[in-house]
Symmetry: D2
Subunit: 99 residues, 4 copies
């Protein structure tokens, strides 16, 4: 299992706010039944790596549906195979170290 | 005020685990009295942009202190000047849109 | 058409060098017949967005084949639909502005 | 010496094109006498890590000077201390491996 951070950046919107675009992504992830968490600088989704990237390709299309001509989508995929690491596991492990 | 996501990647450690390096960063941020939050894919810190990047330069040195020869530090700085946006504000704004 | 920057980071290798892993990616891209360019901080590939992410999923598997247990793959997908933008087009456009 | 990839994303511009903002960054880097290269997905600069991040803080201000209210600046700093790695060195090393 891997964790993917996804940040979809709508370009040329005419406004500094991007909340509507982020809300579209959250609604789509709920509809898909994905295991995810909205964080301050992106959305974190857990799953198998190939499935996560296929999902990212679908979500990347969403801002074009609102009439935009350019979208920059950024993905960081952290995939560890010696043990299962899901949402919240890495932060819990660091907190244990900090006592 | 800006939000900075900081991900410090220790290279060539010999182990898939990086928790000790992440814990070093958390301890240093607490000592500095920074306003920050540990997230699944990085640490989010709030502050003025120039001060955040100076802080990032100090934190980037930490893994070298454990004997490493290569560190990749990744920073995303989101700086909005038409209104104050701190930790948790962006996620709250999206949640309001979702009702 | 979109441009994808792909950076595959092998974790826990025991050495600061990652050149062998990068070479694996280049060989695989040549075999695929992809249109790509090796740059200082990642590999840039041009193509359709969904196909690029499927390709990224295959390339992400390569370091596991060398025995690693953790791989962090980072992707930035820049997709502009009001005009065709391929490898080298954006840098040429900026150079024209600089005279 | 380290390599920094810098991508300055102007938000809310009203147009999909960002070439004017990228040209501002190139002009400022030339004025500073920095050692840099414009690449397809960002600008690569070489130098000492703390100096690079201070430089990034100055460049991050440029789009605000054109009236924008939000800028997202992304930095990847690759710092290797067992040998000197400058612009072009990593790509040359991979090409040697590929014969």
């Amino acid at each position: 299992m891997a964790l993917m951070q996804l940040t979809i950046i709508p370009m040329g919107t005419g406004s500094p706010s991007v909340g509507d675009y982020v809300a579209d992504v959250q609604k789509a992830l709920e509809k898909e039944g994905a295991s995810f968490k909205l964080a301050d600088m992106g959305t974190i989704v857990e799953g198998e790596p190939a499935a996560l990237l296929t999902l990212a390709a679908r979500l990347h299309e969403l801002p074009f549906g609102r009439g935009l001509q350019r979208v920059v989508t950024q993905i960081s995929l952290d995939d560890r195979r010696d043990k299962q690491v899901g949402l919240g596991d890495k932060t819990a492990s660091v907190r244990r170290r900090l006592g």
